[in-house]
Amino acid sequence: MNVDKTQLITKIFTPELRKNADALLAKYETKRASILMVLRLLQDHYGFLNQEAQDAVACYLDLPEIDVREVMTFYTLFYDKPRAKTEFHVCRTLTCSMMGSDAVVRCLEEKLGVKEGEITADGQFMFEQVECLGACEIAPMLQVNEGEYVGNLTREIMGQLLEDSKQGKLEALKLAKKTPLEK
């Protein structure tokens, strides 16, 4: 049993990840308290957290496996399925909705050819609607790759944003995701 645990941890936690995870663990009074930060660390590296990764976290933090799944599925920013290279999170709460978030959604559907939650065939793009991102002053707005907020959206700005991503210019704007998807 213990052999399996260590093997699993070594498989998922590369030496670099392990070092960073240990540093995070040291900041909290209990192992469990570091779970959000550890999950984020792994997700930033792998792009999403499959069952094996979740089990590895459970082993690493000495938690029952179900506890990791409980936390993962509760929060909207953890994914257990692969995502696209570039994601747009479009805010749909009151001010953004009033200022035309539905038009932003339709624009994305049109330009990308996919519906909300679907990944484009080339794996490059997807978009989702999310609740208030705390940027009502620039409504309607969206967030790119959990990074930059892009607001006061118009068709032109949307077009430019998609152009930039397609041409890899989001890298320069530091809006690209940290690692490309694997697994």
């Binding site: 209990t30 909207t76 009151l94 909300e116």
Partner: protein
């Protein structure tokens, strides 16, 4: 009018430690460590009439005085930077532009409550804010303002940045504590209150970002000065977040008690295209809505409470005559149904039910009885739950159909609809059926599809 906090909100600029100190920063903290006692600091904050600016408006000094110092357990300070209340965006600015102002407030609050470890819980979406805060803490550590010997005194203070992962309920005090402890953010039963049994079962102070950002000013210039800036029992200024159908949406640092009419028309430039004002949400999504006739109220905690609404988080959402109140209510209730943690039955089932009813109404299939049904559900949604999310859902739910009844009746009678603002409630729910995918059947799938 002197701007205390918003003077730092210069686009693209962060006031790093050198800039902040040039402006007089960390003087208050230094003085506190040098020559003040804990009790004196708490007294000062009490006298300033500073109210919690995250939403509840609880007097900050009083909150600090509830913390027992004799339990043998360490006292924690948790900074609530979850800023999830729709309509609110001020804490984001403080974190990104003036992290040291916040940090100084944290240090003084820590000293006042004998805290040696503070957590800054920043919502997961604020990646930049978390990065800035981490850097600011490192700068402060290098200068000896946090760490083992704060300001050269025998006082240790560790400040840890903790990032959330996308849940509005983490803004609720005890939900935040559960999340910080690594669990699902299910709010706790109260009593006991966090001041006595909080983080890791120890006494804990939880304060909003903006509240703490006011502390250095109070200590520097005195409680009396600060109290006079505001209104009776509501001291100081606050960062009002104005958004919606106004010409100049943004942050307006104004005294507590300023008239809502002035905020909208004098400061935020009035309505876009000079259209007519229809309604205002005065204090974040959970505040009951005010009609255009009710905007002569002073924006402080007590005056707004008297109108059966609240000052809340200071999020002012302005709606003009083009707004459909029915659709606005759908969007509002969809938010609560999406963010309900699901722990207790009235909120979990009630928010979902109300959302489904409104979804049906906005699909053109509403019935006359639906309005009274919504109002009845509302009576038992509020006041029966573990935390105030359901109360926050109940307030708009009651005020919209009450104050705009004719519009609701008309919408239903005429079978109006808007397929474009309806969307799935949850879109990435994972499958639990062993070995198979499972479809969520939602109204949008069964009825008309969401076509452009």
């Amino acid at each position: 009018m002197e701007k205390l906090i918003s003077k730092y909100f210069i686009p693209g600029k962060t006031f790093w430690l050198a800039d902040y100190e040039k402006d007089g920063g960390y003087q208050a903290a230094r003085t506190v460590f040098e020559s003040r006692t804990r009790e004196a600091v708490i007294e000062e904050v009490k006298k300033s009439n500073l109210r919690g600016l995250g939403g509840a408006g609880f007097p900050t000094g009083m909150k600090w005085s509830f913390v027992p110092q004799n339990t043998g357990k360490p006292v924690y300070l948790v900074v609530n930077a979850d800023e999830g209340e729709p309509g609110t965006f001020k804490d984001k600015y403080i974190l990104v532009h003036a992290p040291h102002l916040l940090l100084e407030g944290i240090i003084i609050a820590a000293f006042a409550n004998n805290v040696h470890k503070a957590f800054v819980y920043i919502r997961g979406e604020y990646a930049l804010a978390a990065e800035v805060m981490e850097k600011a803490i490192e700068e402060a550590r290098a200068k000896g303002y946090v760490g083992e010997k704060c300001f050269g005194k025998d006082y240790e203070l560790e400040v840890v940045v903790h990032r959330g992962a996308g849940a509005y309920i983490c803004g609720e005090e005890t939900g935040l504590l559960e999340s910080l402890e690594g669990k699902r953010a299910y709010p706790r039963l109260k009593p006991p209150f966090p001041a006595v049994v909080g983080l890791f079962a120890s006494p804990t102070v939880i304060n909003n970002v903006e509240t703490l950002a006011c502390i250095p000013y109070i200590l520097n210039r005195g409680a009396e000065w600060y109290a006079k800036l505001g209104s009776d029992k509501n001291g100081g200024m606050r960062l009002l977040c104005v958004s919606g159908h106004v010409k100049k949406p943004g942050i307006y640092e104004l005294p507590l008690g300023i008239k809502l009419r002035d905020v909208i028309f004098e400061h935020a430039g009035g309505i876009i295209n000079d259209r007519k004002l229809k309604a205002v949400v005065p204090g974040g999504l959970s505040a009951a809505i005010l009609t255009a006739d009710e905007i002569d109220v002073g924006m402080d905690f007590d005056q707004l409470r008297a109108l059966n609404t609240m000052a809340g988080s200071g999020g002012v959402i302005v709606m003009d005559e083009t707004t459909s109140m029915v659709e606005a209510l759908l969007v509002t209730m969809r938010f609560y149904a999406h963010e309900s943690c699901g722990q207790c039955s009235p909120c979990r089932e009630g928010t979902g039910w109300v959302y489904k009813i409104l979804n049906r109404v906005v699909a053109g299939e509403g019935r006359k009885e639906d309005i009274d049904k919504l109002l009845d559900i509302c009576s038992f949604l509020g006041g029966t739950t573990i935390c105030a999310l359901a109360d926050g859902a109940a307030m708009p739910l009651r005020s919209y159909p009450t104050k705009f009844r004719a519009e609701f009746e008309d919408y239903i009678a005429q079978k109006k609809s808007n397929p474009y603002i309806r969307s799935r409630l949850f879109h990435h729910a994972s499958s639990t059926k062993r070995g198979g995918e499972r479809e969520y059947v939602e109204l949008g799938d069964r009825l008309s599809s969401l076509s452009p």
